[in-house]
């Protein structure tokens, strides 16, 4: 074909495209089983799921998908962080909180027809507990909440599971903790079909040069949830789930749930504007108003996170002086930061956890913005004109810090205003930033945390519980060990009210006597859905269940 003819053909093609564009509606493939066609809900995801076995998964994009197919013994009340019955109807501890008896639903089957019962529950726990070496590293969440696996059973929180009746399972743990049984709401610890796990060799994970290879089961998940796995079309970046018509609860409103992988945030917005997706997660806060104006609903979640300015006394010994840390805190104009750099609904933090978590101390007031007091304290500590290596991460956006650089600039300006000499350091999130924070290479850095479940220890325990190793270098302080021990003893109190009171007291101490870091703010992340979409309940834990979502007139 000569160049000229090619050009002509191309021009013709473009012309045809524009004239025929009116028939842009694609044909729907009605392969949804049984329950008729109630439309499709298409959700734009920022990243692809890692796999479909939630046990080995580590990231939110994977859990977003698996949550629709899998359920835990305990669930989360939509719209809150509260634990509610899911596959278990009730649970009761023994006197010292080391044995928990779960009464199970008796009307549940897995997607493959396997019965859900106490034996299935114990099979799941034993499967999670009994991991080979690779599995112990890959099973991040189990390691994180349970401490260890079967080969190191003495140090594991989980001690065993017994099917005491067909629909009654008793789980033993090594000692009481605020996290149990709340932690069973983690997407990672969901119940999976023992039959399918055995057939797909679920634990057959292997370390293989620079990565792990996963067994077949990881691509063929079988749970009890309102959606079943359809397929993952990797070439087109779409994950399709089908309505489970045999679901034990209220069946899903839509017959098909599709996740489309759209990494670029502005493209997600354009897809929503073009009507080709029905919603997406984490719209940029600067777009919220515009999206609402276009007739979309921006669903704002309660903030279940914390942004803090971390300090490391091992990197800069001047930070060992409480007066210096207080000075830094008084120097920060957090009210202005919250109003100018953070989404609507963000609040100043008064402690290292949001107010939705039990153990939150309501008596604490935000540290006042008082540059004069900051200068006075610095002078008293003999640290006027001190130097501070202050770092922020690039190429990342987290729910608690939509734009790290802008937050950093605001904080830096405040610190410089009281005479502190700030040395800027940056690195990309996976390109050294986290490594440097962990290794204690920055005097000061911004970081944060989104809670996994409703437990005070999941916040303050994560930050300061492990004395040997934490990002705040608390082992350099005379009170570091005391704080770590206090947190562990508070966490082991069986009675909810007493435990909450103990954590309230610790939160007070952290802010008034210790101040290992400076809590900055809590930001409410949002998700957005287009016109005609109903029933989205925003979850503080970003654990939205899409079974309740309906789409007007289908897609």
């Amino acid at each position: 074909m000569s160049p000229r003819r090619t050009a002509a053909t191309l021009a013709a093609a473009v012309l045809t495209a524009s004239t025929l564009a009116s028939c842009a509606e694609s044909q729907r493939d009605d392969s949804s089983g049984g329950g008729g066609d109630d439309g499709t809900f298409v959700f734009g995801a920022a990243g692809a799921p890692e796999m479909f076995d939630p046990f080995y998964a580590t990231d939110g994009e994977t859990f977003r998908v698996t949550r629709q197919m899998f359920q835990g013994l305990v669930g989360i009340e939509p719209g809150t962080a509260e634990v509610v019955p899911e596959l278990a109807t009730e649970w009761t501890p023994n006197d010292d909180g080391t044995e928990w008896t779960f009464e199970l639903r008796d009307d549940v089957t897995f997607h493959d027809g396997t019965d859900f019962n106490a034996e299935a529950v114990c099979a799941n726990f034993e499967r999670m507990f009994d991991q080979n070496e690779a599995g112990q590293t890959a099973g991040e969440y189990w390691g994180y909440v349970m401490g260890s696996f079967k080969n190191d059973a003495a140090n594991s929180l989980y001690q065993g599971c017994e099917a005491t009746d067909e629909f009654e399972a008793t789980i033993s743990i090594s000692g009481p903790t605020s996290g149990f049984p709340t932690m069973l709401s983690l997407a990672s610890l969901a119940m999976q079909s023992p039959t399918a796990m055995e057939e797909g060799d679920a634990n057959g994970i292997q370390a293989e040069g620079e990565g792990f290879s996963f067994p077949d089961y990881a691509d063929n998940p079988v749970g009890t949830g309102p959606f079943t796995f359809g397929d993952y079309d990797e070439a087109n970046g779409t994950i399709t789930l089908e309505r489970n018509d045999d679901y034990w609860g209220d069946p899903a409103q839509v017959s098909e749930l599709v996740f489309r992988v759209i990494p670029d945030e502005s493209t997600r917005r354009q897809e929503l504007e073009a009507g080709s997706i029905n919603g997406y997660d984490l719209p940029n806060p600067v777009d919220w108003a515009g999206l609402e104006d276009e007739g979309n609903s921006v669903e704002i979640r309660d903030a279940f996170n914390i942004l803090y300015l971390g300090l490391n006394p091992e990197a800069n010994p001047q930070l060992k002086d409480l007066k210096v840390r207080q000075a830094l805190y008084h120097a920060l104009n957090r009210e202005q930061l919250v109003q100018t750099q953070l989404p609507e609904g963000a609040t100043e933090a008064t402690q290292f956890m949001p107010d939705t978590v039990s153990g939150y101390n309501t008596d604490l007031q935000p540290y006042a913005y008082d540059p004069e007091e900051a200068k006075r304290l610095l002078a008293e500590a003999g640290a006027e004109g001190m130097e501070l290596t202050f770092a922020y991460p690039t190429e990342v956006s987290r729910p608690y810090m939509p734009d790290p650089q802008k937050i950093y600039e605001a904080l830096r300006t405040d610190l410089e205003a009281v005479g502190i000499k700030v040395n800027v350091k940056t690195a990309s999130w996976n390109g050294g930033y986290l490594d440097n924070v962990t290794a204690g290479r920055y005097d000061a850095y911004i970081l944060g945390w989104t809670g996994d479940y409703d437990s005070p220890f999941n916040f303050v325990g994560t930050f300061f519980g492990n004395l040997k190793e934490n990002d705040f270098g608390t082992k350099a302080y005379p009170w570091g060990q005391q704080l770590s021990e206090d947190l562990k003893s508070a966490d082991a109190i069986v009675d909810d009210e007493q435990r909450a009171a103990a954590f309230e007291e610790i939160n007070g101490q952290i802010m008034e006597d210790y101040l290992p870091g400076l809590p900055i703010s809590h930001s409410p992340p949002a998700l957005v859905v287009g016109p005609g979409v109903d029933g989205v309940v925003p979850s503080p834990l970003t654990a939205e269940e899409f079974a309740s979502v309906s789409v007007e007139g289908g897609q």
Binding site: A7, S26, Q27, S31, V261, A274, G432, L434, D435
Partner: protein, 336 residues
């Protein structure tokens, strides 16, 4: 000719081995790594060390490399940690390749189909308003970043006028048979015309966005090259001999002007892969470029190694093809 090709292929093997060493060392010298990407905020020294040991990243670099080489010889280039965890890295490349080939081919087709004729016409009418505006247009094409071009294309063609899809490779819910992984071709092969048409519609915007730079380069090289040839004595001789304009254009001007253009087209293939990284990302187009972007962000070593080495192999092969094309166009090269 055969000896020449064989020699070049052997050279390629050497290049790939040396490059693999460099890439291997370079990736591991970058700060951060796959462990941060996996652990995120949960990273502690202890967990990081455990994960690094499990992934073999705690071994000395030469040991790691030898292990890599040992596996690579058996065709095993490691598994992905983040792009598609557990999946064979080479398989990821092979699965993603058809999408990028399809996109790049169309982009190159657009660039060539517009660049060569326009370059020729601009040269014939040097200094005319048409020439000036074409030159300015090509300059803009090079200067404007791809993501901005892409944003504008999506905004007008997809959002405002609703003519074409915003992103992706296929409409949600369309059930199409896959053969080669090139969706347009698959639709034609299986005679699923609606699927072919749907895939083509998804291809147009990313291909146009990706073609802007190669178009501009091909246009300017063609124009310059044709200008050079038009001043040559043999063209004047041909005109004096009274040959028809058509013959002169085809046999004398275009044929001689094409040599540098062919080289340029070959060089553009490398550029297309670089352009595909951004283009595929903003068009949610699941090709090699998008995988490369994700792999780099999440420091997925195995996938990065495979993609970079594969790009090198493709680059060397394309250069080889260009040299062969040279020999076809210019008989003098063959006799050397």
């Amino acid at each position: 000719m055969v000896r020449f090709v064989v020699r070049r292929l052997l050279q390629m093997v050497l290049v790939v081995v040396v490059l693999s060493m460099l890439v291997f060392a370079w990736l591991r010298s970058l700060p951060g790594g796959p462990v941060s990407a996996i652990l995120g905020e949960r990273q502690t020294e202890e967990r990081r060390a455990a994960l690094e040991a499990a992934l073999g990243l705690d071994q000395p670099l030469p040991v790691q490399y030898l292990k890599f080489l040992e596996r690579a010889v058996q065709g095993n280039f490691g598994v992905s940690t983040k792009v598609l965890p557990g999946e064979d890295a080479l398989q990821i490349f092979l699965d993603r390749l058809p999408a990028t080939v399809e996109l790049s081919a169309l982009a190159l087709l657009i660039a060539v189909a517009l660049g060569i004729p326009l370059g020729y016409v601009a040269a014939r009418r040097r200094g005319s308003p048409a020439d000036t505006s074409a030159v300015i247009f090509s300059l803009v094409g090079v200067a404007v970043p791809v993501f901005f071009t892409a944003f504008l294309l999506k905004y007008f063609f997809a959002v405002e006028w609703n003519l074409l899809p915003v992103s992706g490779r296929q409409s949600t819910g369309l059930d199409a048979t896959r053969v080669t992984g090139m969706f347009v071709l698959d639709g034609i092969l299986t005679r699923e015309w609606d699927a072919a048409w749907d895939a083509l519609k998804h291809l147009i915007l990313p291909a146009v966005a990706l073609s802007t730079i190669p178009f501009a380069v091909i246009f300017r090289i063609t124009r310059a090259s044709v200008l050079d040839v038009l001043d040559e004595d043999y063209v004047r001789t041909a005109e004096a001999k009274g040959l028809t304009t058509r013959v002169i254009r085809a046999r004398h001007v275009l044929r001689n002007a094409m040599l540098p253009v062919v080289t340029t087209i070959g060089l553009q293939v490398g550029g297309l892969l670089a352009g595909a990284v951004l283009t595929e990302t903003v068009f949610s187009y699941q090709g090699v470029g998008a995988a490369l972007a994700t792999a780099f962000r999440d420091k997925d070593y195995a996938v990065l190694q495979v993609l970079i080495l594969a790009a090198a192999v493709i680059y060397v092969l394309v250069n080889l093809l260009v040299d062969i094309a040279y020999a076809v166009i210019d008989p003098r090269i063959r006799t050397r």
